[in-house]
């Protein structure tokens, strides 16, 4: 621990050449002008670093390395097998079908949640009485467990007791019939709607934060120039909200490519809705083929990172106000 400047300056005085080594007399302790090595900061960050290294970085290296190995308790020993895992999953019908599902989850989820978040943020852009209450209710879906949200929405989609069916029968429009698990397109859209319910609140907050930075004068000037609200949205709000939109799209990309809870609960293992993460789970923890599981999660990670970077490059613009 270095205390104050006083200590350092006196150590410099003591450290003057000539005053240093003085024979056998040990009364003068020579201090160097350099700062002493401090242990405290390292001690403070050590626990976090140990966690991060042992339970995040080492496992990540594991995933990369062992995706090139056969790792299967039913087929020992663990041995190098080159690209065999990747070749195998590339020919796995369930994996291929889940790639399509996941791509669809991502496209629907990212577009829908971003569009809705932008619309909600614009509604909440200006202060009004009760806005903080609306925001409190708005973040509710974000705070709930994804699995349980699947259960809540089962109640909406249920062919008998569901809200949609109840509305249709009450309006004499017939019933819904079975909504989930029949048509692949409808199943995935409805499941993704549940995830959109969960991820949109955070997107709203991210976009709202950027909207708060836009000065009112811009809107006033636009109004004086005769801009319609829609025109000023296109000319002012949207371009200036781009940093927030980019961040919210990235979090939507990460959430949707890795979707697990909602299809697992709402549609089970069925091909009509199974996602890539679900296939990783089935391959690793039901077939116990960890090697292929590693390969698949490595691919998911790589795709997530590439698409996230692409979104940032396409959408993000530095805004200076």
């Amino acid at each position: 621990m270095t205390f104050s400047r006083g200590v350092e300056s006196s150590s410099q005085a003591v450290g003057q050449p000539g005053a240093a080594p003085s024979g056998g007399v040990t009364t003068v302790v020579v201090r160097r002008g350099r700062r002493r090595f401090e242990v405290l900061p390292y001690a403070l960050v050590a626990p976090v670093m140990i966690f991060i290294i042992a339970l995040a970085l080492v496992p990540a290296v594991f995933t990369i390395v062992e995706s090139f190995f056969t790792v299967n308790p039913l087929d020992p020993p663990t041995r190098f097998s080159g690209l065999a895992n990747f070749v195998h999953i590339a020919h796995d019908k369930a994996v291929i079908s889940s790639i399509g599902n996941t791509a669809f989850y991502m496209v629907v989820g990212v577009l829908l949640s971003t569009a809705m978040a932008l619309a909600i943020a614009v509604v909440l852009q200006r202060p009004f009485r009760g806005r903080s209450l609306v925001i409190a209710v708005l973040i509710l879906p974000w705070a709930l467990p994804g699995v349980v949200e699947g259960i809540l929405w089962t109640g909406i989609f249920d062919p008998n007791a569901g809200l949609i069916n109840s509305l249709l029968t009450t309006l004499h429009l017939g019933g819904t019939g079975v909504l989930l698990g029949q048509s692949r397109l409808l199943t995935i859209t409805l499941i993704e709607l549940v995830q959109v319910w969960q991820i949109t609140p955070l997107s709203v907050l991210l976009i709202l934060a950027t909207l708060q930075l836009i000065p009112d004068e811009l809107y006033e000037a636009a109004e004086i120039d005769g801009c319609s609200p829609w025109r000023s949205f296109l000319a002012i709000t949207f371009p200036l909200a781009r940093p927030g939109i980019a961040v919210c799209m990235v979090q939507a990309v990460i959430a949707t490519i890795n979707i697990f809870d909602q299809p697992y609960i709402l549609n089970g293992a069925a091909d009509t809705g199974a996602s890539l993460t679900m296939q990783t789970y089935f391959i690793s923890f039901q077939n116990l083929d960890f090697g292929q599981g590693y390969a698949l999660s490595l691919l998911i990670t790589a795709v997530t990172l590439v698409i996230s970077l692409g979104v940032v490059r396409a959408i993000y613009r530095k805004v200076e106000l």
């Binding site: 403070l44 976090v48 349980v148 008998n160 509305l167 609960i265």
Partner: protein, 290 residues
């Protein structure tokens, strides 16, 4: 730190609350609460009433039979619900306490002390935030199983803490950085040691940040499903989310009972979100400024 939009009051530009905005606000609220309302409604109905035609949009003949089956003694599902509720509370509480403790001291060092290699350490922590959540699912399972920690509180809590530390450290780091610089110097001149400065001067100032981070961490822990699904193999450690999901597949479990189970699992997070929403919103925004 108050949210940016409450800090600055602006005069409304165009006609205050327009009709369009009112409709928008109503739609936002409906969208957020209808699935919760519908589950709540079904949870107080018999399966017959829930399926009745014409449809009942309120529980006309409310019943507690679903909750009785979930919680009452001696029913087929209540044992699992009770034990898994205890499990989820223990796991979330431990994960939150450990995460906050470690993240706070590390964030203090990262934001207010100078030491060699600081940036490398800090970027290593932040880099793990870029991983998609399940990248390390399989290796973590294999590591935990290697140490005999599968199906133990320790194993689950260790994995949770490792997952939540980066975001918690990042939020606390930003929070400490927002505190004025002079604080430590004032304390150090008084002869206090650095840890005393942290304890007596910085922590009280950072309390809102600590509360935000703790609430967010707790909510994340409560929402976990795939990790505990893999890491816990029986009722001794399975959290509520895993046990409820297993009910979903059973044929003797009607949809009204599932709704009641869903309501039970969201009571705590929903109350936290409603009561402490200011802390949560601030924490999320502190964590997202890059």
């Amino acid at each position: 730190m108050s949210p940016a939009w409450s800090a600055r009051r602006r005069r409304p530009v165009r006609g205050g609350t327009s009709t369009v905005r009112r409709i928008g606000v109503v739609l936002i609220v409906l969208w957020s609460v209808i699935p919760i309302y519908w589950a709540l409604k079904m949870s107080f109905q018999t399966e017959g009433d829930a399926r009745a035609i014409p449809a009942q949009f309120f529980p006309i003949r409310p019943t507690l039979q679903n909750y009785a089956r979930l919680l009452g003694s001696g029913s087929d599902v209540s044992g699992g619900i009770r034990q898994s509720t205890i499990n989820i509370v223990i796991e979330c509480a431990l994960a939150t306490i450990i995460t906050i403790l470690l993240a706070t001291i590390a964030a203090y060092a990262f934001s207010r002390l100078h030491f060699k290699g600081k940036n490398i350490f800090f970027y290593a922590v932040l880099a793990t935030m870029a991983f998609p959540p399940y990248t390390t699912l399989i290796p973590l399972y294999r590591i935990m199983s290697g140490f005999g920690l599968v199906n133990t509180y320790t194993g689950i809590v260790l994995v949770y803490v490792s997952g939540f530390l980066p975001l918690a450290t990042w939020i606390m780091h930003n929070y400490f950085q927002s505190l004025p610089d002079g604080i430590e110097e004032a304390g150090l001149v008084d002869g206090a040691r650095r840890l005393q400065v942290l304890w007596h001067l910085l922590l009280p100032l950072a309390r809102p940040g600590i509360i935000s981070t703790a609430l967010i961490t707790f909510l994340f822990a409560w929402g976990q499903f795939l990790f505990p699904l893999v890491l816990s193999s029986d009722l001794s450690t399975q959290p509520l989310t895993v046990v409820i999901a297993a009910l979903q597949g059973r044929h003797d479990v009607p949809s009204t009972l599932m709704s009641a189970a869903g309501v039970l699992a969201i009571i705590i997070p929903a109350l936290i979100a409603l009561i402490f929403n200011r802390y949560i919103v601030n924490g999320l925004l502190t964590g997202s400024t890059r």
